[in-house]
């Protein structure tokens, strides 16, 4: 349900209102930020923000189980896993964020706003007179929120619940299928082969040099210097452009005095 509809529809307690208004704004900011951020890690973090706000909303609306699950499972586990994967894989610098379709963004924004407006206005008018029932009744029927959910899952929706396992198996099979390359005996290089390849001409057998550590800069983007004073391209990650130190940076800073 959209926040506007809720605002329009139900009388809220003051506490709920004071929780809802700032968190609602934050949730929206997170959602917009997720779409607009240029960096995938930033996007993920914005999503975390929105999910946290949603979790709080669930709890405030007397759905503690869902709220906690939202925070622990989605925000805590899934999004963190997502972040790890993003950081491990690294953002490929070749990703282009330039929109090539003319008018696509404008049209998409207009349509999105139009759709949201349509639904909000419609729901706002529809729900103007209704009072929310809340979950109190449902929660008490089975002795609590968790018990109530459990009883639904294991009675009326037991088949659907069990069938979701098919979804999980499919997902696992699919991940294996699309991501895992099975190497057979002949394909996997043996240890002697690996050694020979390492010392073969053209390969650099030693560990790569670390980035340069200078008094003025110890960024990973600053290349180390080779003995002849040139920059060692190998000392920085491939996706970063090697940065030549400017003359002001290399100039004596007066600390040698």
């Amino acid at each position: 349900m959209t926040p506007a509809a809720v605002l329009a529809a139900t009388p809220m307690s003051t506490g709920e209102m004071w929780v809802f208004i700032p968190l609602g704004i934050l949730a929206l900011v997170g959602a917009l930020g997720m779409v607009a951020a240029r960096n995938a890690v930033h996007s993920a973090l914005f999503l975390v923000l929105t999910m946290l706000c949603l979790g709080v909303f669930y709890i405030v609306q007397s759905g503690p189980f869902l709220g906690v699950a939202q925070i622990i499972v989605y925000t805590g586990a899934i999004m963190m896993l997502f972040l790890f994967v993003l950081m491990l894989v690294g953002r490929d610098a070749s990703d282009s964020l330039i929109e090539t379709l003319r008018g696509q963004r404008v049209a998409a924004i207009l349509l999105g706003v139009g759709f949201a407006g349509l639904v909000c206005v419609g729901l706002g008018r529809a729900l103007a007179g209704t009072t929310a029932k809340g979950l109190a009744e449902a929660n008490s029927a089975h002795g609590g929120n968790v018990q109530g959910l459990a009883s639904l899952l294991f009675t009326r929706y037991v088949f659907a619940f069990e069938v979701t396992s098919a979804l999980l198996i499919t997902a696992a099979v699919g991940a294996m299928l699309l991501a895992h390359i099975e190497r057979r005996k002949g394909e996997r290089p043996t240890q002697p082969e690996q050694m020979r390849a390492r010392f073969a001409p053209g390969n650099y057998p030693a560990p790569k040099a670390g980035p340069g550590v200078y008094a003025t800069s110890d960024s990973v983007a600053t290349a180390g210097l080779l003995p002849d004073g040139t920059l060692a391209a190998r000392s920085i990650p491939e996706i970063l452009p090697p940065r030549e130190l400017t003359s002001s940076e290399t100039a004596p800073k007066g600390t040698d005095r």
């Binding site: 349900m1 639904v119 419609g122 729901l123 008018r125 529809a126 729900l127 209704t130 089975h142 002795g143 609590g144 018990q147 459990a150 009883s151 294991f154 009675t155 009326r156 929706y157 037991v158 088949f159 659907a160 069938v163 979701t164 098919a166 979804l167 198996i169 499919t170 997902a171 099979v173 699919g174 294996m176 299928l177 699309l178 991501a179 895992h180 390359i181 099975e182 394909e187």
Partner: protein, 510 residues
């Protein structure tokens, strides 16, 4: 705290689904336990046996009309008929999937994870045995479809939707040739499918807000009682319909169809065209006939406009296509429009004619894609239309068979295409939907043109140097082709028995 009581579950009625889920899980175990070279030998009989066993249970339950598993599942006439249809069509599609003689190694790539164009990829293109994981995925998809047409509440329906969609997304990515196209298709299908699912879920939420329940009988009560806010009802119904029409490939939610049909391995395309369409329309029938018949007067004009748009888009854009698989995709879109015409009759005849249409179309389309798998050159299937020119001279038998199938699509009498179109239009006319019938007749006349253009091209033009040869089909493809063509002919000449069956199977339980 009070005790939980498990709802009564009629395992016999659920047996077809349980069997297929079981077979799918077994199939996954086979992948783990059996050496690679022999997996295909185990998977194919396992899948076929499972489908036959499921079909036996469907037939044994033929008279059942009940709800089970806590009202979550309705086993009634349409559900059983559609389950039977999905299983039989699934058997035929599985035959195509299992074919290994056309292409060394079968239609699937051996290791989908290998980067396209790498050395390992080039070596696997030439005959390495295809990924046998496809079989359990197909079983999962079919099991999900069986559940989809029997789901009696929106939550179960949604879970079933995801259960049968996810394996299809994966299967689309497994083509042996033109892998980039195939992977692109899978990704598009996945993204847009997820997008459509979101609409569906939003719809469920609004309907729950309206009726206070998501079981179809309760929704029906609420709609007929007319309590609650109409906005919730109609916005919810609109969003639900969008989710279902996406799967059914109705305009403007059809956009994925041509790309996905073209990119997916052709046997999978046939599975999608036949079985997914059946499942999607089965669910649409149930939602509209069981849940929302009280709102008929409100949704009919809107979905009617969608139906007309769908027929128009399919018919007109089919004319401009230059690729056989895309042409068949647009034809499948147009057929979704005709099916919608049958659905919108909102009469018992509407149900039975739609059921009939689904079966008739399913067999024809599988056979058509079977022919597409046969027309190939050194680079795999030759799907560009210009390559089909003069095929009648090269291989009169297959060109003849394909001509017959195209005539069936065009709705020429004495094929199932004619009887099925006649049935849905007749039902819609009987239901007072003259405007839909007029639009349907006019577009079907138009739609015959691209088909006949292909017929003329195959028979009347000279084979060029680039005209590919037609491979001799293996036993599996031959079987699928023969079944498809025979059913198309039989339903065109003697549709009586199946029409009777659909009439008897037309009663929903609520």
């Amino acid at each position: 705290m009070n005790d939980l009581k498990l709802p009564a579950i009629d395992y016999a009625a659920l047996a077809p689904m349980l069997i297929l889920f079981g077979v799918a899980c077994l199939g996954v175990l086979v992948e783990a336990a059996v050496p690679r070279a022999r997996r295909g030998l185990v998977q194919v009989p396992l899948g076929l046996l499972g489908l036959v066993a499921a079909l036996v249970f469907v037939i044994a339950e033929a008279g059942t009309r009940k709800r089970t598993a806590g009202e979550a599942i309705a086993i009634d006439g349409p559900a059983l008929f559609l389950q039977g249809a999905i299983i039989v069509l699934g058997v035929v599609a599985l035959l195509l999937i299992a074919e290994r003689s056309l292409e060394p190694g079968g239609p699937f790539v051996a290791q989908p994870a290998r980067p396209v164009g790498s050395e390992a990829d080039r070596s696997q293109a030439a005959g390495e045995g295809g990924a046998t994981e496809a079989y359990p995925l197909v079983m999962f998809a079919l099991a999900g479809m069986l559940l989809f047409v029997a789901a009696n509440d929106l939550l179960t329906m949604f879970v079933a939707l995801e259960v049968f969609s996810l394996p299809l997304y994966l299967l689309c990515a497994l083509a042996r040739r033109r892998r980039l196209l195939s992977q692109e298709a899978a990704l598009k299908y996945f993204l847009l499918g997820a997008y459509a699912s979101a609409f569906f879920l939003f719809g469920i939420a609004l309907i729950y807000g309206y009726a206070g329940a998501i079981t179809f009988s309760r929704i029906h009560q609420a709609v007929t009682a007319g309590t609650g806010s109409g906005v919730l009802l109609f916005a919810g119904l609109a969003l639900l319909a969008i989710g279902l029409l996406f799967k059914a490939a109705a305009a403007p939610f059809h956009v994925w169809t041509p790309d996905v049909y073209q990119g997916a391995p052709t046997p999978i395309t046939s599975l999608m065209a036949a079985c997914t369409k059946t499942a999607a329309f089965g669910a649409l029938l149930r939602v509209l006939y069981v849940g929302f018949p009280g709102a008929t007067w409100d949704f009919r004009p809107i979905i009617g406009v969608i139906a007309i748009l769908t027929m128009l888009v399919g018919a007109v854009l089919a004319v401009t296509q230059t690729d056989m698989k895309r042409l068949l995709a647009y034809s499948s879109i147009a057929n979704a429009g005709y099916l919608l015409v049958g659905v919108l009759a909102m009469t018992p005849e509407g149900v039975s004619s739609t059921l009939f249409y689904l079966v008739a179309y399913g067999f024809t389309v599988i056979a058509a894609f079977a022919v597409v798998t046969l027309v190939r050159d050194a680079d795999g299937e030759a799907t560009h239309l210009s390559r089909w020119a003069g095929l009648g001279r090269r291989s009169p038998l297959f060109a003849g068979v394909f001509t017959f199938l195209l005539l069936a699509f065009a709705g020429i009498p004495l094929t199932s295409g004619f009887t099925s179109k006649f049935a849905v239009f007749g039902a819609a006319f009987g239901g007072g939907q003259v405007w839909l019938v007029v639009a349907g007749v006019v577009t079907s006349m138009l739609l015959a043109f691209p088909y006949l253009r292909v017929v003329v091209m195959m028979w009347l033009s000279e084979p060029g140097e680039s005209t590919p040869s037609v491979s001799v089909p293996g036993a599996f493809t031959s079987a699928a082709l023969v079944i498809g063509v025979l059913v198309t002919l039989l339903l065109g000449v003697l549709p009586g028995p199946l029409l009777d069956l659909t009439t008897r199977a037309g009663d929903f339980v609520r």
